[in-house]
């Protein structure tokens, strides 16, 4: 019994080490999970703010076009299903008729297109801004109606 105080019982047992490491790794995993999901949410928020700005921007620009000359504006529109235009450039001007067909060219991330329906004195405008993130596609739709009031 002379050697008892130098026996193996003095250190940390394997079980203790395993428990400690598993608790530690659980904490690390939780932290990483929370942080990455928070980063994703931040990214989503940022894109959503930008996307809603892009859609409002297009509606405001359309309103300007409508205020400038109604006849030129209404000529861009057509009866149901209407005309679809793709506004994927930052400086807005009338493009040729045609949808964006899944090209996310606005700031390399967003897709912005508008459909104009109606002839005569009322035009219905549906603007959508779309972007892809991780494995989801998000859309911001804005609908408005312009009519001739003069």
């Amino acid at each position: 019994m002379k050697h008892k105080k130098y026996s193996n019982k003095q250190g940390i047992s394997l079980l203790e080490v395993i428990i400690f490491i598993s608790i530690l790794s659980l904490i690390f995993l939780a932290t990483v999970f929370v942080t990455t999901s928070s980063l994703q949410k931040a990214q989503y928020n940022q894109n959503k703010i930008k996307a809603s700005r892009f859609s409002e921007e297009l509606v405001e620009w359309m309103r300007g076009e409508k205020e400038a000359t109604w006849s030129a504006f209404v000529a861009r529109s057509a009866d149901t299903p209407g005309n679809t235009y793709c506004f994927n450039s930052t400086s807005i001007s009338w493009p040729g008729i045609g949808s964006c067909s899944a090209s996310y060219g606005l700031e390399d991330r967003f897709l912005r297109q508008a459909t104009l329906v109606g002839t005569g004195s009322q035009v219905k405008i549906s603007v959508i801004v779309q972007w892809k993130e991780v494995r989801n596609t998000y859309t911001i739709p804005v609908d408005t109606v312009f009519s001739l009031w003069e």
Binding site: T35, L39, Q46, E60, W61, E67, A68, I92, E150
Partner: protein
């Protein structure tokens, strides 16, 4: 026979310290990138809030109260712009006469959009956190029978100077309004 070795060997300590030195920077990197992403969202929100507010205020006031446009004060018929004789104006500040004969105007003052009127003086429509550039208020008149059309455009961006292009929040604003009470 000697004493049995107690404690940890140098190799064990080296491995533990090595793992900690890998984990801690990784955690900090995650934490700070998170912080930066959140602050970017806040900045973008602030820029959008200010821009929306300024554009909304300007369009509503011009649409509801604007009666005629002038290039100088006091607003007289001699300095009226965007009339039949003078259908375009894009060179200088526009003073807008309201239904009561008072005037108001919008201009950029120290990177903020200010609204000035003969009744209330000058009021800022945006705050210090946002700086306004390329502000333009112009007017045209498309035909003899239609009221003048006022175009508003500006760029709102964050005030803090940053070298990193991806951290810059810039939003474009542009619209056109017709005077309703012309």
């Amino acid at each position: 026979m000697g004493i049995k070795k107690l404690g940890y060997s140098a190799l064990e300590m080296l491995i533990v310290i090595g793992m900690i030195s890998l984990l801690i920077p990784a955690m900090f990197a995650l934490f700070f990138s998170n912080l930066r992403a959140q602050s970017k969202v806040l900045i973008l929100q602030e820029v959008k809030r200010n821009g929306d507010n300024a554009l909304g205020a300007m369009t509503t006031i011009i649409k509801q109260y604007g009666r005629s446009l002038h290039s100088a004060i006091p607003p007289l018929s001699s300095n009226e712009i965007c009339t039949n004789d003078n259908p375009n104006f894009n060179d200088g500040r526009i003073y807008i006469k309201d239904v009561n004969g008072n005037w108001f105007s919008f201009y950029v003052n120290q990177n903020k959009i200010a609204s000035e009127s003969s009744q209330t003086g000058s009021v800022d429509l945006t705050n210090d956190k946002v700086s306004i550039s390329s502000f333009a208020l112009t007017c045209t008149r498309t035909s003899e029978f239609s009221p003048p059309l006022v175009s508003i455009s500006f760029i709102a961006s964050q005030s803090a100077i940053t070298d990193r292009q991806d951290e810059k929040s810039t939003l474009n604003y542009q619209t056109k309004v017709k005077l309703r009470t012309y």
